[in-house]
Symmetry: C2
Subunit: 310 residues, 2 copies
């Protein structure tokens, strides 16, 4: 099975209001709630593609209970979340009915005790031997050491399990030195990591820092893969319009599913780009439109790119 | 004991953000959570004043579990909330750190089935014989009939228990005809009920519609009581500045505690005005500052008002 790790799981709540006006009082028309955090989103897409997937990460409080109850019905998905004493955070997305614009409010997450973190790492290490691949996803909750992802990358590599890392900031900087197989930064995360706003140069720098392969997501320009096996680029046939929430998580699911199925890099990229675009097109944020996915998969083209001069 | 009824209980969540900007993403700095809904707020103030109080109303889901867990530690307060299948609503108050201004997002509440409502009414009727007074507070959740408060007022009067009603809109209009002992509208609610923006005229109309006594809260101008025993007005010694959240609920607690202690109207009004102002002055929204309360109680003056010509 594929393992996804979400240290900072979330109960994602969406509110629909006619229009958000600061300092006014609003009656929320519609409330939608679902389990969230990048790793859970990735897992849901993998499960929908027919892969067996196990989710772990930290979960707690009444928000955590809600999250687990809502996860329980998902086919192909096993809950191996690790309980902590603090409460799983909420994220609130307030959608303006008129414009579709979203205002986001993200709680920081539970304060995790050192003993909770080390017990979690031990449980993660027990899961690794049965994994075909692992994805480490999202932010770290308060109290978790900033080197946490470096520790999880090393454990996966020690167990011989391919590891994809999707995070940002200092946790990414620390973990990249532990030599993950794959990172999937966007342009902003690459620039923050390397100081360079020129993607080709930033990708080169990220690989020098330790990442074996870098798959940079460049928004509407698609994805750029720089790997030990070669350089490729893939983009959707035309610009897709819709809600980009979860598009990056769908791309991670595409890359992981392609990896465990033994697809070559261009095929993995096509899958990631098509899933990502099909997520933007889906009516519900974070889900993908299966018909659009099949159509796009036939249309997305991945082409080789000449390596940059080093 | 005093009974407070909150059909639409809430988990009140306060987020502190540097500044709320529509369509941006915000990291919430601080999250505060507490049991809410007007009747629970009234009960908390009564309990703090040393009164034994029982809370009932509808509660459900994981938000409801949280609410009950947080209520469990309150001295003098007994939880007789009635479980329903839907989830207790959340209210989110987003406070701008710079200005202190608040943006409010209120979920509608659970959809209540007719059988759930009639079972609740039966449990409410079993509580009435042991009550010294009852307060019916706040909005009705979806599915509860608009005549719900009229039904609860009639049951209380049938059991010989004095009943205070604090709601608005159509539920108030219907329930006032069932002749509650006391209503506590603000100027806006009075105008909505009667069509008159002139408080004296609106109060007269509200009494004609069925309320035995009307205690109108007129913001910084204090409170105006029109009762079968006479007319009084009380105001704080000076304008108080702070957060008015919960000030109305504290006033209700003042009126109820005065009623069950057998205080006369001017004394009840002084207590209500002092508690209300001490709530505006408290650093935490919805709580009252006990020292400020004692000081204000000595300073607030209630004076008789000549009855308006009918």
């Amino acid at each position: 099975m594929i393992l996804t790790v979400t240290p900072n799981t979330a109960l994602d709540i969406t509110y629909h209001v006619p229009s958000l006006r600061p300092h006014a009082s609003h009656r929320v028309r519609e409330v939608v709630e679902r389990p969230g955090g990048k790793g859970l989103n990735v897992a849901r897409v993998l499960a929908a593609l027919g892969h067996r997937v196990t989710v772990t990460g930290l979960v707690g409080g009444s928000t955590g209970r809600s999250l687990r109850e809502q996860l329980a019905g998902t086919e192909n998905l096993t809950d191996a979340l690790f309980p902590v004493s603090g409460a799983t955070r909420r994220t609130i997305a307030v959608v303006d009915a008129a414009t579709g614009d979203t205002t986001q409010l993200n709680e920081p997450g539970p304060l995790v005790a050192p003993a909770e973190w080390s017990d979690f790492v031990a449980s993660y290490e027990r899961l690794l031997p049965s994994c075909s691949a692992v994805a480490l996803c999202g932010s770290l909750p308060p109290g978790v050491p900033v080197g946490a992802y470096a520790q999880l990358v090393r454990a996966a590599r020690g167990a011989g399990v391919p590891v994809l890392l999707d995070t940002s900031g200092e946790p990414l900087r620390r973990a990249i030195a532990a030599r993950p197989d794959l990172i999937k930064p966007n342009a902003e995360e690459l620039a923050e990591l390397t100081g360079s706003h020129e993607p080709a140069e930033a990708i080169r720098d990220a690989r020098r820092r330790g990442a074996h392969a870098v798959i940079a997501s460049l928004g509407a320009d698609g994805m750029h893969a720089v790997t030990p096996e070669g350089h490729w680029r893939a983009a959707p046939p035309e610009r897709v319009r819709g809600n980009p929430t979860g598009a990056g998580d769908s791309a991670v699911a595409g890359l992981l599913s392609g990896l465990v199925e033994g697809l070559d890099w261009p095929e993995r990229l096509v899958r990631a780009v098509a899933l990502s675009a099909a997520t933007v097109l889906a009516p519900v944020a974070g889900e993908f439109d299966p018909e659009a996915y099949e159509e796009l998969r036939a249309k997305v083209v991945a082409g080789p790119v000449a390596p940059d001069p080093e």
